[in-house]
Amino acid sequence: MSQEHDPRPASGQPATTLEDDLRATLRRAAENAPHALPGLLAGVGRRSRRRARTRLLASAAAVAVVVTGTVLAVRHERPEPVVINPSLPAITQEQVVGSPPVEEVWPGAVQVVPASLKTGKRLRPLLIADAQTTLLTTWSSHERASAVYAYDQRTRETRQVTVVPSRKGEIADGFVIVGDRLLWHVKTDTSATLWRAPLAGGPAERLPGILPHVPWATDLVGDRLVYSAGDTGVFSVPVTGGDPTPVPGGEGLHLLEWPWAGDPLLPSDGVQGVRFGRLVNLETGEVSHAARTPGDAYVVCGVTTCSGLHADGTPYVRARDGSGERRVPELAHGLAADRFMAAHVTGRAEAEQYVIDVATGRSGSLELNVTLEGGETSYTTIGPTVDDRDMLSAHRTGDDTLVFIDLRRIVSGP
């Protein structure tokens, strides 16, 4: 059995035990940690107790003023207005605070679902199956899915779809819907296997073949599952199982959203590195390099947009080519579906998180309704990033529901 740990380094022991090396490694790594830039802490100390729903209207008016302000009449022989590069208006925290609930801002794209079974077992968000149906999982231990459930908005019933077989040390992940089936992979430290089950309900079935990789990101392309695995590259495998084949041109790249894969996933040049600064279209070979501004930090790029922090501490979002820049209330660590970020606002009495569509400036409250009076409260916020292509979900702790936001539905319009 383990001895109770004593943190004091044992004197007289050889200086090269794993524990000593670990201490040295962590100390040295800490020296290479990012430094706080002005702006990183912006927003942390801001407070807001107001929930002024009228704010949204005020911000719309502000936008109109700014836009007319950029139209200048330049006198020529034939006078005509010339639009001076209208830099998009900033999205401020004041505009965002007090936004209506997400289901009012994006009706039809939001589903609210019970967060637990009748037995009391916690449900975790998995994916949106269609406009009325969401899929959820229970966990057997931290992040280990044990069963999949479907919730139907019309019948308001939760039914079990399948039991997810996994052994200790294995993780079921990458759930996607293929026709009338649910497909996922179960991974160990070195490999993965594909599994599927009927969405209508039924036992899970292991598909033939073994993936000699640990998939990180996956995407469905026709009848093939495309995935990237660490630094080894991008591969594809039939959704019915079989042997994976490398996707030409995908060596060393990380899948973002088919056909786009890129690097670096984790920049080696610290906070100045641009995550997904280079993207490659695996169908056409087209290469896209994100525009860089000297001094910027924490830049994370998606297929069409980037977010980051200017050297003066201004958090921004903009197109990959650097155009259409817009100031945002806080640093986003990548935009979900290339246009959504979250802002977390804490006040004396409550905390709330908002989802912001930086393309339109619209924002909605996740309605976490966290009450801060009475000491320590535990609650969960969401951290959207470029890997979130389809949906965002959050746990409304107070009324124990899960809110699903269908980003694809918002992006494709009404």
Binding site: M1, S2, Q3, H5, D6, P7, R8, Q13, P14, T17, L18, E19, D21, L22, R23, T25, L26, R28, A29, A30, E31, N32, A33, P34, H35, A36, L40, L41, G43, V44, G45, R47, H142, E143, D173, D189, V214, P215, W216, A229, G230, L265, L266, S268, D269, G270, R275, Y298, E330, H333, H344, T346, A351, G375, E376, T380, T381, G383, D387, D388
Partner: protein
């Protein structure tokens, strides 16, 4: 409304140290920044009480550790289950063994990594770690011994190592 001047001063003064802690916890500069921001935001709302009664630095570190092992960010959780890409160190030239250890750490499940960081970076006792992470002391020992065993396998530690048996 402006933030409390003494909260702002605390955040400005401690931000670098908290970022270092976030970095060893998560192994990633973006995650470090994210953890630091979120934890400071949560500290801010309880600032009057914590400043009066508790130690703000200890409070914010507990929040960071718990956030890190929570489902707060599901993003990139896949990358935590496998060996990460190389992370080069800029200034100095750590030994291969240290580089290997840093990479191997990224292959650990989050709780195992958090326990090792709290033990060997924060120098906490197992009892303190149990409190910080809100888990049983036996679980701390089990995470630590699994984590060390995994690191040992990955980097091939020396026989002479007497730890965590």
């Amino acid at each position: 409304m402006s933030p409390d001047p003494d909260f702002a001063a605390f955040a400005a003064e401690r931000a670098d140290a908290l970022l270092r802690y976030g970095y060893v916890l998560s192994g990633d500069p973006h995650d470090a920044a994210d953890l630091t921001q979120e934890a400071l935001a949560r500290l801010h709302r309880v600032w009057p009480r914590v400043r009066r009664k508790d130690n703000p630095e200890a409070y914010v570190r507990v929040v960071m550790a718990r956030l890190h092992i929570s489902v707060w960010r599901r993003r990139r959780r896949e990358s935590l289950a496998v060996d990460p890409p190389d992370g080069a160190w800029e200034d100095e030239h750590p030994s291969d063994r240290e580089q290997g250890l840093w990479r191997a750490l990224a292959g650990l499940p989050r709780k195992q990594r958090a326990v090792l960081v709290l033990r060997y970076y924060e120098d906490l006792t197992d009892a303190e770690i149990a409190q910080v992470l809100g888990i049983a002391r036996g679980t701390v020992r089990s995470h630590a011994s699994h984590g060390l065993a995994r690191l040992r396998t990955v980097i091939g530690a020396r026989e002479a190592d007497r730890s965590a048996r």
